[in-house]
Structures are given as structure tokens and as C-alpha cells.
């Protein structure tokens, strides 16, 4: 039964499509196109199902959300004698330093910075901004330091996407000289307690 069906099918096929050269050629081409289309669609569907959530299209939107998380985590200001006069944390999702730890950090950093200035090779440059420690890189964050010619250090802890923070730190220096130094109720080398300074600094940090 099968063979006779096959024979009749074969003869139908032969008579209609394969007898003439032109129709034979067209059939082959069209069936090749049809096969490739079907195969591609089916395979793509299968592949998408298999690798859902792992491809670029899926994570690129998430990555742009992650970009909003790029920010300045905290700001510290250290005075001439190594005491901490300002510390503020802007990222509530990470672990916070206790005030004692922050003081110890400030004193330690002051010492290390002074050491780095002294052991730097290549002689002493006159630029205070190039002396000592400028950045410290770790796996999770980067610490930027900016020392003024008068010996005050401005430190910002950011994520790794920020490579250079000199203009932000310079702006913090300007804010410090405006809202802390011009405040009649601020004594030098003491902790900075000024609402205006806090507000302006918050605005600056949020813009970066």
C-alpha cells in the first residue's frame, strides 16, 4: 500500500515539478527558502526560551538603572592636625562608619598621607595637589583625596565609575571657604556644623 502510494506520489511530483528544468529549479529554490525560514524561526524561539534573562537586550536596561547608583558615597574633611572636622554619608545602602571609626580613619589617613609625601620618588614638586595620596583603588570603591596648600584634606569615597574627582573636590573646597570660614560661629580646626554647608554639599553630591 505504502509503495503504491509512494509511487503515485512520486509520479505526481515528477510530472508536475521535476519534468521540466525550469519548474525543477524553481521548486528546489522555493523549498530551500521555505525550509530555512521555518527552521530559523523555530530555532530562535527555542533559543530565546532557553537563554531568557541572560542576553544583552535584557540586562542593558538594568545596567542603566545601575548607572543611577553611581554616586559619591561619602565625604570627609580633615584639618591640618589630622582631626576629622566633617564626615557625611550619602549612601544608606552600605555599611556606615561609627563616629569613632571615622576619627581613627582620619588620623590614620593623615599619617599615611604625610608618609606618602615624604617617600615619593622624583623629588618634591611644589604643587601641593600632586603630593601625597590622590586616589586609593579597591575592589569595591575608590577614595579620592585633595590637599589644599594650607594643609586641609578633602576626601570623597565613590564607586569605581568615577575616575577623577578634582573639580568636585575643588567645589567642595569653595563651599567650605564660603559657608564654614565666613560663618562667624565657626572656629578654625573645629568640626563644621553649618546647615547651609550641609545643604549645599548635598546638592553638589546629588548632581554627580
Amino acid at each position: 500500500m505504502v509503495s503504491s502510494f509512494a509511487k503515485s506520489f512520486g509520479s505526481v511530483l515528477y510530472r508536475n515539478f521535476f519534468k521540466k528544468e525550469s519548474t525543477y529549479f524553481t521548486t528546489v529554490v522555493l523549498s530551500g527558502v521555505a525550509f530555512s525560514l521555518t527552521f530559523n524561526t523555530m530555532f530562535e524561539k527555542y533559543w530565546n526560551k532557553k537563554t531568557a534573562g541572560l542576553k544583552w537586550e535584557d540586562i542593558k536596561d538594568r545596567r542603566s538603572i545601575k548607572r543611577q547608583e553611581e554616586m559619591i558615597h561619602s565625604v570627609f574633611i580633615i584639618n591640618r592636625s589630622g582631626g576629622l572636622i566633617y564626615s557625611k554619608n550619602y549612601n544608606t545602602h552600605i555599611a556606615q562608619l561609627s563616629s569613632n571609626e571615622a576619627l581613627i580613619f582620619a588620623g590614620t589617613f593623615h599619617g599615611i598621607h604625610a608618609l606618602a609625601t615624604r617617600i615619593a620618588p622624583g623629588g618634591r614638586s611644589t604643587s601641593a595637589r600632586d603630593m601625597g595620596i590622590q586616589t586609593i583603588d579597591t575592589k569595591n570603591f575608590r577614595l579620592h583625596c585633595f590637599q589644599t596648600p594650607t594643609g586641609i584634606k578633602f576626601i570623597a569615597v565613590t564607586d569605581l565609575l568615577h575616575t577623577k574627582l578634582t573639580d568636585v573636590l575643588n567645589r567642595i573646597y569653595e563651599l567650605y571657604s564660603d559657608y564654614a570660614l565666613k560663618n562667624p560661629f565657626y572656629n578654625l580646626e573645629m568640626p563644621v556644623r553649618s546647615d547651609m554647608f550641609d545643604t549645599k554639599l548635598l546638592q553638589l553630591v546629588q548632581a554627580h
Partner: protein, 189 residues
Amino acid sequence: MSAKQYKTVGEEAWKNNVEKVNAELFIFTYGSLVVQLVKDYEDYTAVNKQLDKMGYNIGVRLIDDVLARTGLEKCADFHSTAEVISKVGFKVFLNITPSVQNWSSDGKEFSLIIDDNPLNDFCELPPRAVQDGLWYSNVFCGVIRGALEMMQMQTEVYFVRDVLHGADVSEIRVKLVKVLDEEVPANDE
């Protein structure tokens, strides 16, 4: 940096980076302060000293303001320091440029010649004040002394002559006493 470069720095900062206020308000306020001091102390030498002290408190803070706005670095030598004081410092705060003259032979003393002091604009000293030697703008001396101390230079700054006493120009003498090695934490006097 040459004197010309410092001049440009000062002028640029004055034009773009500095917020301005009416000069006469400033002049009258300073005058009111001096009169208050005269009333409180009743002795012109004590007033001189108090003006210098107040100038020192201003100077230790003012230096950071200049550095933050102009981005200047520590000066290589005392000559550059003199240029910065006259062409940047005075320009940014008072919009005047005193000239630097009368260098001593060892390069450690110089004079600032101010021919147009804004504080003198509406001021005339009573004869007693002239006789007892009140230096009306003595606050400048304190400011310079305080600012330089923050840059590790101990100095003596004093008035030599003043227009209000009848001279042609006002002259402030700045003398470098020594360079401080350790960083001295600042304290208000």
C-alpha cells in the same frame, strides 16, 4: 609664575569668580567698626593692636578663600608671594592693585604701596588720632600676617606711612621672620 601671569589670574578671578557688593557699604561698615573700637578702648595704640588681631583672624580664613577661587599653589619664593598678595589678594577682595617696591638686599622685606585705599574714601582722622598714631587700615597688616602664617611663613607687617596722616601714599612694610617647617594648627588670637 611671572608678575604678569599673577595679574591675569587676579583679574580673571575678579571678573568671573567673585561675587561683588557695594563698596560704600563696606567702607561705612569698616568705619563704624573702628569708631566702636575707639569707644571701647579709648587708647589708639590699643585700637591698633585690636585691628591687627581682628585682621589676623580674618587672614587665616581668607587665605583658603583665595586659594579655592584661584587654584593657586604654594609660592616658590618670597618674591612670588609679594606678587600674589598685591596682584591677586588685594585685587580679588578690594579691586585695587598696590605696587611692590623697596625690596631689601636679602630679599626678605618689601613694601606695599597703596595709593588708592578704599577704606580712606570718606575718612578724616581727628588730630588727636593722628598725633597718637592711629593706623586706620591696620586690619590689612593683620590680614597679611594671618594669611602668610597659614602658608608657613612667619612675618612682621606694619604701617610705615598713611595718607590719613598727610603722606602721599600709604605704605605697609612686610618682613619675613622665618619659614615654619611644621604645620602649625591655626588658632584664633
